[in-house]
């Protein structure tokens, strides 16, 4: 599934770079006058740009898509708790409402009103060669460049470039009628040592089911680290097996190496169904903000610093039709402790349940399932009626009540709170 490209390689002149790098400073894009030429066009979109923090760290920018607290951002590096810092300096706790995995978009909600909305235009009127600027929260753009490739649908057969720092399993995958099939094992790789075999069907990774399409598995593997042990549940002919593989360091790859030269790259850099490509050098943590053309129109949301030559944005025309679904709850964010790169929080000591307990649990889960199934319809009705879909104030009051009830019943109030938040 990986295209084994052996690049016709640019010879690397790594040795005399330092001296050459000093030349021509005045002409470069970090010339302040050059940057300030874009001031006018980023001024307006910058008002509706927010800083997104995950666990207190700056991970992305975001844009206000509705004045009553809806923020659209890049999902990949998010983890709870999430906060949004506005241009006026106020910081709000954000709830993660919607998540579109393929496009890597996350819709957040903060408890604020009257925010300046960033209107989304259309990228079609901004062809290759046109200037584009990335609005940040300041006066100047955080990056600028020209459109390198207009918005296109990507026929992705795997990652264009894998994260060189991610853990390495050493398999090639393909989609098959039986599921996600291993088509190749790299000799002496982590997969080989863990005794994985060609034709094994991967059922779960770290306890979570995997999609039949390799991209999803690959995207999840991008978040792993060398040295980490991952659990796979696989099917081999008629037997199901649990496999533990200790990940290794990705072997040296010239394409990855060259792409990593000169700038920091985003953790996720591939698998987007639609992208607009430009040549601005954007910091990975400044992705998620507006991409603006010379007319001041927002033509996309920046999503990835993907290589030495390329930065991607999701075109605005792709984003607009997704907003309703993101708001509806149809596309829920990942469950907190199911995220592969997070340490699991104190797992229950024993998973053995007696018959009655299991019966009670089944009943509860089935109720929860029905409640979740209803949610999109409820949300759609609210949306159509112009009502806010989420009601954080009421939600908080409800959860507080649940927590106090749990306390009375001598249950863990935090766990009860979490259960109801996830279920409702």
């Amino acid at each position: 599934m990986y295209r084994h490209i052996c690049f016709a390689i640019l010879g690397l002149a790594v040795f005399f770079g330092d001296a050459l790098a000093q030349r021509g400073k005045n002409f470069l894009r970090d010339n302040p006058r050059f940057k300030s030429a874009f001031r006018q066009i980023v001024a307006k979109p910058a008002e509706g740009t927010v800083r997104v923090l995950a666990e207190g760290k700056e991970v992305a920018l975001g844009i206000v898509v509705a004045s009553d607290g809806w923020i659209l951002t890049k999902a990949h590096d998010l983890s709870q708790p999430i906060e949004c810092r506005l241009k006026d300096g106020r910081t709000f706790a954000a709830s993660w409402v919607g998540h579109h995995k393929d496009h890597d978009l996350a819709l957040l909600r903060i408890d604020a009103e009257g925010l300046p909305v960033v209107p989304l235009a259309d990228s079609k009127d901004t062809p290759v060669g046109n200037w584009v600027a990335c609005a940040g929260m300041g006066e100047h753009p955080v990056a600028f460049g020209v459109v390198s490739v207009a918005a296109r649908t990507v026929d992705s057969k795997g990652p264009a470039s894998a994260n060189p720092r991610a853990g390495y399993l050493g398999i090639a995958l393909e989609s098959s009628p039986d599921g996600l099939r291993i088509s190749q094992i790299i000799p002496k790789s982590a997969a080989d040592k863990a005794n994985l075999k060609v034709d094994d069907i991967i059922l779960t990774l770290e306890g979570r089911p995997v999609s039949r399409e390799p991209q999803e598995f690959i995207a999840r593997m991008q978040k792993t680290r060398p040295g980490q042990t991952v659990k796979l549940h696989i099917k081999r002919t008629d037997v199901e097996l649990d496999i533990q593989a200790k990940l290794e360091k990705r072997p040296f790859n010239r394409g990855d190496f060259q792409n990593a030269l000169g700038s920091d790259l985003s953790n996720r850099r591939s698998g987007y169904p639609v992208i607009l490509q430009f040549d601005g050098v954007l910091k990975p943590t400044d992705c998620g903000g507006p991409l603006v053309n010379l007319d001041g129109q927002v033509i996309g949301l920046t999503i990835s610093r993907a290589g030495r030559t390329e930065t991607y944005a999701i075109p605005a025309e792709t984003i607009k039709p997704l907003l309703a679904d993101l708001k509806s709850g149809k596309l829920p964010p990942p469950k907190e402790d199911a995220r592969p790169d997070r340490k699991s929080k104190a797992a229950p000591k024993s998973s053995k349940l007696d018959k009655d307990e299991r019966g009670a649990l089944d009943a509860l889960l089935s109720l929860m399932h029905r409640r979740l199934a209803l949610m999109p319809e409820v949300a759609r009705a609210k949306w159509n009626a112009g009502l806010p879909v989420a009601d954080p104030v009421r939600e908080r009051a409800f959860l507080d009540a649940i927590a106090s009830q749990a306390k009375d019943l001598r249950a863990d109030p935090e766990r009860a709170r979490r259960f109801f938040r996830d279920a409702a």
Binding site: A13, F27, R29, V128
Partner: protein, 335 residues
């Protein structure tokens, strides 16, 4: 005439060479008679200063692109990808020497719209990294004119086009806009290029090819392009399929350093290489080379370039808690 030169026969090849040379003469006249330039004033400033400047640049760049993008091609040789540019109606493609490699190879040329054509490599100058390919099918190709690389000024604007990472279906040739930062043996620009772009064209604001993508160094401002003049200067040899030049014997150790490490940590030792024979191991940290301290890949490179194959050096190496001295006989890089 076109059909004649594209018939793949030995005799006809000779004809085509004569014809190509004639074409070049015509082009030479065209440069002399180049129409007066209507390049906006904004291009002359140190940097664009206003929205008006940006608009003027954008308008002109779009105009240039509309004329030249379709001349940019992908080049595939087996599993390797590079780029190139068609520079005449007979289907001669300029590329980098390290893309075409040698003369007489079969290659696939991929036009901007994905059309795949057969081609054969012509001559290569390994010193300057220039090479030519002849499209061996008949057709009407969109081509770009060759410009001049001599006398270019620092700060001059240029457009780099190519196929970074190799040609990808559904992706048009990838455009980058930048400035010329330096020109001597190579043109240096801040148009960021990467593997797969090799051989692709660098255009000036007249829409003429002034360079061919060749090499990079780590900073985004170090992208080197073969100056177009060398193609013109050596045109006849290249068209005849001559291959000349090549790296002087460079001392070779056979190690790969960890690009993430802050020190000279060995990430890979090639089996059978001088390093392997000297019993250097993965995870060893090089402390000194030939009695001189080394702290980075750049320092090691500088020292290595001062040596020749056959020279013997002593390496000081940290392995775990130990510090070792290893004797290493430098070799020649295997081809």
């Amino acid at each position: 005439m076109r059909t004649v030169i594209n018939r793949p026969s030995g005799i006809v090849r000779v004809l085509s060479i004569c014809l190509l040379a004639a074409c070049m003469a015509l082009h030479g006249r065209a440069w002399a008679d180049a129409p007066p330039k209507s390049i906006p004033k904004a291009f002359e400033k140190e940097a664009p200063e206003s929205l008006e400047d940006l608009r003027a640049i954008q308008g002109h760049v779009r105009n240039v692109l509309s004329r030249v993008t379709a001349s940019t091609v992908g080049v595939r040789m087996g599993p390797s990808f590079g780029s190139g540019v068609i520079i005449n109606k007979e289907g001669v493609v300029l590329t980098a020497g390290h893309v075409s490699g040698t003369a007489g190879r079969d290659v696939e040329i991929i036009l901007h719209d994905g059309t795949r054509l057969k081609g054969k490599t012509l001559g290569v100058d390994k010193d300057r990294d220039s090479g030519l390919i002849q499209i061996t099918e008949s057709g009407a190709w969109t081509y770009a004119d060759m410009g001049k690389s001599a006398g270019m000024k620092r700060g001059q604007w240029c457009v780099a086009i190519g196929h970074p990472g190799g040609f990808r279906p559904g992706r048009t040739p990838v455009v980058r806009l930048g400035r010329l930062l330096n020109s001597d043996k190579y043109l240096q620009t801040d148009c960021a290029i990467v593997g797969g772009d090799s051989g692709g064209p660098l255009f000036d604001m007249d829409g003429k090819v002034i360079g061919i993508h060749s090499r990079i160094s780590e900073p985004l401002t170090v992208n080197l392009h073969v100056p177009i003049d060398t193609y013109r200067d050596t045109w006849e040899k290249l068209v005849k399929g001559e291959v000349w030049g090549g790296p002087k014997a460079v001392a070779y150790m056979g190690i790969q350093l960890d690009p993430d490490a802050k020190n000279c940590r060995v990430a890979e030792v090639s089996p059978g290489s001088p390093a392997d024979k000297a019993a250097l191991k993965v995870d060893d940290v090089l402390l000194a080379f030939d009695g001189k301290k080394v702290a980075s890949i750049n320092e090691l490179g500088t020292l290595l370039r001062g040596k020749r194959p056959g020279n013997e050096v002593v390496l000081q190496v940290r392995r775990g808690a130990e510090t070792l001295m290893l004797r290493l006989v430098l070799g020649k890089r295997p081809v």
